[in-house]
Amino acid sequence: GESVGLHLPTLSVQEGDNSIINCAYSNSASDYFIWYKQESGKGPQFIIDIRSNMDKRQGQRVTVLLNKTVKHLSLQIAATQPGDSAVYFCAEPRQNFVFGPGTRLSVLP
């Protein structure tokens, strides 16, 4: 299951660099995933989704990669900007309602 109660993993990147945020899932039947972004004091916002028939999906400055073999997905943010500072969650909305603690991304000037 998900590990709630642990300290938030953190990632610090320099402004302009690329960011990679990782997420592991346990259910091999999972076929749909979403990445959410949660800024301080706000609710989570949808960023991008991917279905299991795809390995990669690109949005505006974001790319999600799905590796079904190792049950891992990643969110890549190109040219990270200060406005990208937030907590990022991955979710499997069809399998369960559990969200992990997320990863806190801090963008350094």
Binding site: E2, G43, P44, D49, F89, A91, R94, F99
Partner: protein
């Protein structure tokens, strides 16, 4: 268009009092979810409504917590005899299907 709205945005109450939190989902969304988020932690599922089906209450932490959804739209989460450990952000989300959930801004509850 209007997103999910929640009220109040902040609530301070005394231990032992009851509180009601309101959620207005996006019009036309049949699914509605309540989550709790403690400081620095992930989302904890509380309850899920889908259309006219019986709600999934499997996440409610105790019988002090209840929720209802009137007319398939607005939902109210009620916490009776609040405890300090109930202090958290309560998030509501709605969706047209069981996929993308759109979240409200949350209600920050502080129990003194």
């Amino acid at each position: 268009g209007a997103g999910v709205s929640q009220s109040p945005s902040n609530k301070v109450t005394e231990k032992g009092k009851d509180v009601e939190l309101r959620c207005d989902p996006i019009s036309g969304h049949t699914a509605l979810y309540w989550y709790r988020q403690s400081l620095g932690q992930g989302l904890e599922f509380l309850i899920y409504f889908q259309g006219n089906s019986a709600p999934d209450k499997s996440g409610l932490p105790s019988d002090r917590f209840s929720a209802e959804r009137t007319g398939g739209s607005v939902s109210t989460l009620t916490i009776q005899r609040t405890q300090q450990e109930d202090s958290a952000v309560y998030l509501c989300a709605s969706s047209r299907d069981v996929e993308t959930q759109y979240f409200g801004p949350g209600t920050r509850l502080l129990v003194l």
